[in-house]
Symmetry: C3
Subunit: 245 residues, 3 copies
């Protein structure tokens, strides 16, 4: 059973985060909220999202799996103004989702969840932890996009750095410790990532003003940020690229 | 003879309404104003528009037919700011239209009206009449566009409904009597329409806050609304699609 | 040697003006500022731009030639907010340009200037001189673009006129003397120009509210305007088209 009401921007944030990696996804509904875990088709990145009951205006749920076509939800969200309340109901008999905005009701078929296994989130031991303003990351990405397809993330005991190197040009964003909200790093670590994935992930962050990053040496990065004013959280994992010498 | 001055938005509204159906059109100029009747090339829809002399800042006209290339008028309108006055003069010797905005003068050749017969507006007896806020119709259309190519308009004694049904999904906009400005309907009637035509017509409404609809059972819909602050009016007729069972 | 700091809009104006004609260009750096001269690949137009030392927030330069890829500069400018300061340094050892915005550093290779000769700006004796508001020119261009590929510029003792003539339509912008800031013209002169070049040049003007034009009979036009609040200037030369009768 699942019936809920939420502000359109709460759902929009959820959909933006997940759609970065997949077009269809399984919502794991429980009494306490919604959890979503998904891996992109190329198995390069993973999202692990949770949205508490308290993030909704109204919420009633029992253990249920909903197979969601993300584009359909997005179509409904486009009808809503900021702050407008959207109702969502699971019609179990017909296995449909019923969403209402204003006087409009959209009934949508659900996707079969049979083939959607829950990915196991790996427990990574990442030695460096730091917190960066989202806007700084966005600027670094914008600057890098014309230079290379990759981006190196580097944490040292006194700074965080993003470096993009092309054949003739390079871009460097260096944030010393005093421009970071947090920096916990004993020795310098560096990993290289595909810029398109990293860019899409950072662009999907809508309300969080800062992102916590966990980094290692040639290891995946784990990025964590709040959604729904802290009543939900996202963990993104992104696999590294091997650096060619 | 025809010479007039009008606010750019009055001409823009006229052009938007007519361009929904045709690229070239005949303006029937008379002493009392301008009348335009046109049928789209596929003979699915008709527009019957009139703009009184009083809608213009200045107006002098005798019985004349002007063959108008709508795109050329639109190009001139793009040069004008809101509220700016546009002059229009018919140069009878050269059969050209001369339009002025600010310090710019555009002279344009007119289209031959020989092949443009005046369509006869059918006198339909449509049992249901109702008045809906334009914005509600727009929302309903936006919601329907991803679901189906058709839209059913349904009037009952206590509500107006728009329904779009696709293979897996459906959209429903239901407005009970108290959300309608007018509802005069003895028994439920329903007709199905091509969504693209209906959508283009409603999008062409710029200033009218509500639209009066006349509906029947598997019959055309007649939509009426004001232009030029009530100093002009539009009637759109749209043919129904046969509903397959 | 070259090291400078400038407001982003000063550099943007410089780049906009030059990119109208070329993708790569040579900056002639001297103690007193930067000079740029360039001819477009079709040899139809020329730009002659100078930016004084005083247009920069900080400036140190010795005679140097910098081969600039305009798109790369533009990419950096997109990262800056209005009013934000951009640093530029010439790394002579590696012949690279280093630009900084906020915490971002972009290193870019320079283009080889060996093949870039300085075009000689011809000394034209143009009998008519007038000064027009940029916005009027823009309107005239907008109005003309749908009518013809050419535009005639006409100066008479009492007005300035732009005329575009197509097969069926024409556009005319006539500015009598009292709408011009300056008009020094003994007898009527007229030259025809390619509209795309003229349009791109006028669109590249960002801060100058008026443009001084020097015109002759079937002769090039020279257009002059200020950049950087008067601390720089641009001369555009555009070759005429032969008018067919």
């Amino acid at each position: 059973m699942f019936t809920a009401k939420a502000k359109s921007e709460v759902l929009k944030e959820l959909i933006d985060v997940v759609s970065t990696l997949v077009d269809e996804v399984k919502f794991n509904v429980s009494k306490s909220g919604i959890a979503v875990k998904a891996v992109d088709p190329a198995h390069v990145a993973m999202v692990d999202l949770s949205l508490e009951k308290g993030a909704f205006e109204e919420y009633k749920g029992n253990d249920t799996e909903l197979g969601i076509d993300i584009n359909k939800i997005r179509e409904v969200l486009k009808l809503a103004r900021a702050g407008e309340i959207i109702s969502i109901d699971h019609d179990e008999d017909k296995n449909r989702l019923i969403m209402s905005v204003g006087n409009i009701v959209r009934r949508m078929s659900l996707v079969d969840t049979a083939g959607m296994s829950d990915p196991k989130v790996p427990n990574l031991d990442l030695p460096a932890k730091l917190s960066v303003r989202t806007e700084e990351l966005r600027q670094g990405i914008r600057a890098s996009e014309s230079v290379s397809d990759h981006i190196a993330l580097i944490s040292s005991p006194d700074s965080f750095e993003m470096i993009s190197e092309g054949d003739t040009d390079s871009v460097n964003l260096k944030l010393p410790k005093d421009l970071l909200e947090e920096l916990d790093c004993k020795e310098t670590v560096r990993s290289l990532f595909p810029l398109d994935y990293f860019s899409n992930m950072i662009k999907a962050v809508s309300s969080a003003e800062s992102i916590t990053m966990h980094l290692g040496n040639d290891y995946p990065v784990r990025m964590e940020f709040d959604i729904a004013g802290g009543k939900g959280g996202v963990k993104y994992l992104l696999a590294p690229r091997i650096e060619s010498e």
